[in-house]
Amino acid sequence: MNYVIAAFLGLFFGFSLNKAGLTKYNKIANQFRFTDMAVLKFMMTALVVAMIGLYGLRGLGLVTFPTVPATYIVGNLIGGLLFGVGMALTGY
């Protein structure tokens, strides 16, 4: 049952990525040149919507949060720095 949910959610995940244009090289590359802000707009909208929804639901006692990604400052930062190089290079 969990797998059915995963496949279904994945379908919508991929669909939204495609419709936002994030499956294209130029969208990702141009974000880093600040000539096309679609990536940031898309990411931040998703963040805000999910934040409001999740914290609201938790406030009502309807969900418990899963284990959150761990914070280890150096690792997160170095990972992010390397990731940015790959992202600007390939556009994925």
Partner: protein, 181 residues
């Protein structure tokens, strides 16, 4: 109904609308199966699965047993869904290039910057993707698994990651594009 059909067959939506859709998917993932969206972790699960089949000793370590357990996980199934969801999105706007002539490299901007050769894109994509996956392994997630899923739970790691990503991304774009930036 017609309006909905028109919207679905559009090639590019407003990023705000697509973002709202992803936000809802993110909420549903937590509500329905208590999991977070992510992409890079699934590759590690799969790599662990293959590695354990080929070289069980080398892969019998903490990382592939506990941190990123090998096997078909929730994230792997999600990734399969993402693949077909992306195809579905392209198919609805008739921009699916499966089997078409310029399918493997059709991006005009890419050709202008790096040249028209397809093999160049494949090589760059291959090594760039290794770098991406390795970096995601260090940071503990990729754009979706850490920046979006972590960000929506207000995890500090997510914002550190985004800051790092943009700092080096801008620098890399500057180096590649130089005067064309």
């Amino acid at each position: 109904m017609n309006w909905l059909k028109n919207q679905i067959s559009k090639e590019v939506w407003s990023p705000y609308v697509a973002g709202i859709l992803l936000g809802i998917v993110g909420i549903l993932a937590v509500v329905l199966s208590n999991s977070l969206l992510g992409a890079s972790g699934a590759f590690e699960n799969l790599a662990g699965l293959i590695g354990k089949a080929i070289a069980p000793l080398a892969f019998n370590n903490m990382y592939f047993n506990f941190v990123m357990p090998a096997g078909i996980t929730w994230g792997v199934i999600l990734l399969v869904g993402v693949f077909f969801g992306g195809m579905l999105g392209a198919a609805t706007s008739k921009s699916l290039k499966w089997g078409k002539k310029d399918a493997s490299n059709s991006d005009k901007q890419w050709k202008r910057i790096f040249g028209p050769q397809t093999w160049k894109r494949w090589v760059l994509g291959f090594f760039g993707a290794i770098l991406l996956e390795y970096a995601a392994g260090i940071a503990g997630g990729c754009t979706s698994g850490l920046a979006i899923s972590g960000g929506m739970l207000l995890v500090p790691a997510a914002f550190l990651f985004i800051a790092g990503m943009f700092a080096s991304g801008i620098l890399t774009a500057l180096i590649i594009y130089r005067k064309r930036y």
